[in-house]
Symmetry: C2
Subunit: 342 residues, 2 copies
């Protein structure tokens, strides 16, 4: 019994099961794939695969279904790099090139990814922590009210409204604008927070109170963890395809999609480079999602991987296709971030 053929059988089972969503039997297998052996032989291989835990029989006299372990082997050893089709490449470039700002890039990526994979797509907004401060702008809205605008190297813009007790003159604002930017511009978040903390003592006493108000707002905006946790989700409509396994696959996922914290944990740590992470069924952190898989990878300018994107779907999903799409989109988004924001 050749090892190679047994793997070929596993691959065939996974492919057929993903395509048909029905347990696959030995006869159907030899018909649809040119394995060059008879159903009986395949049955022997199947028995062996089942002993090793790669496939499973829902009940006697039924076909076989891959187990999580089977999918794992399939992903690790049986799937090559599936190149994107020309049409898909075109879709990626045309859709993403039109993006006008960071938000738009993220929104478009989600849409693109969900369309390419026909799966639920998740894109994490670039995190603040690794980015640097590009510029801080102060705008007086009313005499006593200042809007603080924080622009980061990723293109992200955060805004805060500061209510100052007293009237704020344009000169004061101009001075503070200069000193704040001197202290923070070009710095990483962590350093910028420190520098801003010292600032109020370094300005003329009459500006100290205002400086304190402004830097507090800025620091808040920078360390605001909510920003780190933001994700965009799309393609929930694709879940409709799995109407049959509503309770095991659709419902839990639908519930998880509302909880962005859960999604972030699902996506996992950003991996840099070309590595695409695949988390299959129970390998993930949530038992309720034990019949869903995640295909994700990090992205970011110059391989810094400061955020993660990926797709989520039932374990019974097209892994090669999803992995290729995730990788391609991540690459292209990274390039856009590279170009667009220096």
């Amino acid at each position: 019994m050749s090892e190679d053929r047994r793997l070929a059988v596993l691959r065939a089972i996974v492919e057929d099961y993903v395509a048909t969503e029905e347990p696959v039997g030995s006869k159907a297998l030899v018909e649809r794939h040119s394995l060059g052996v008879s159903p009986a032989t395949v049955r022997n291989d199947m028995a062996a695969l089942e002993d090793e835990g790669f496939i499973h029989q829902p009940h006697t006299s039924a076909g076989r279904v891959p187990t999580d372990k089977g999918y794992r082997l399939f992903v690790d050893r049986l799937t090559g790099v599936k190149p994107m089709s020309a049409a898909e490449r075109r879709a990626i470039t045309t859709l993403l090139d039109g993006a006008v700002d960071l938000d738009d890039v993220v929104r478009r990526s989600v849409r693109l990814l969900s369309q390419l994979t026909r799966q639920v797509a998740i894109v994490q907004y670039p995190t603040l922590s690794r980015s640097t401060v590009r510029h801080v702008e102060l705008v007086s809205l009313t005499p006593t009210r200042v809007m603080v605008i924080l622009i980061l190297s990723t293109g992200r813009v955060e805004q805060r409204l500061v209510e100052h007790g007293a009237e704020v003159s344009e000169e004061q604002l101009a001075d503070l604008r200069v000193s704040i930017n001197q202290a923070a511009a070009g710095e990483r978040i962590a350093e910028a927070i420190q520098a801003l903390g010292r600032l109020p003592e370094e300005v003329p006493p009459d500006a100290a109170a205002l400086a304190r108000g402004l830097t507090t707002a800025l620091t808040e905006a920078m360390s605001d963890h909510r920003s780190d946790e933001r994700v965009a989700v799309g393609g929930a409509a694709n879940l409709a395809r799995y109407g049959d396994s509503f309770d095991t696959a659709v419902r839990p996922l639908l519930e998880a999609l509302e909880e962005h914290v859960v999604l972030l944990k699902l996506l996992g740590e950003a991996t840099s480079g070309d590595a695409v992470t695949v988390r299959i069924g129970h390998e993930g952190p949530y038992s309720e999602l034990s019949s869903t898989s995640v295909v994700a990878t990090g992205y970011g300018p110059a391989d810094q991987a400061f955020a993660t994107l990926g797709v989520v779907g039932p374990t019974r999903m097209d892994y090669p296709g999803s992995m290729a799409a995730v990788r391609a989109v991540a690459r292209y988004v990274s390039r856009i971030l590279d170009e667009g924001h220096q």
Copy 2:
């Protein structure tokens, strides 16, 4: 046969059906509601209601289910203003008061609304058209690259990157910042676009090219209709409750949620004042969504109603509750927008 009692019967049918999701019979009705008459009498009323098309019998020997027309009558004549509970009021204030910017207000509103109604919530971002320009900021990112930031009276911030052929000095930028703001600040979008169009001819010739680039970007950002079309959606997990009617209610809605244009059309025109619009089943613009209803209302500072928010759900939904929640949230959001941005 008193007209009043017949309406009471209709109300009872709607309430019971919404609660149990099952056709309701005459016997169950008199048991659960103190109608003061016998099942037989109720049956007579039911027959009359059915003749008039307010209720419908899935099949002989089954209970009755309200028709769209029945729900309509229920909403129009049988439902008073259901006050929010203290806990709900508290939820609204505590959740919404923490919002830091416009995006956050919208996101929180969606979440809040979906939690209050246990329904899918939709909140349209305030549209640009009626708002005015608060301030325009120019930030040089690199010597030849300028980021244009547009701040509107609603608190919305739009940003565009402008690549200028030649190097841009800080003085040029400062001059243009002044003249652009003189031309546009305080103006409505439409007027601002006109004023900016004239600007390049009114500045020194050597700044004209740069001015043209910047005003073009600004005009684009202002007339960008995509901004008008943005909506936030939340609470899709609530659809899980309707797992039984997956194909008629959940699937079409799930698909619609991806299409923001569809959602906007669903929400309909913003109504100002306290009017809450209810669109029941086939009354809506999409035949695929003939078994879903929409409860929506306009919101915005000082009754200007420049955007719409609401909930979508199966026709079999809690109308009084949804209407109350939608109204309450719209009011509170309007107040926040009023205060927060003058």
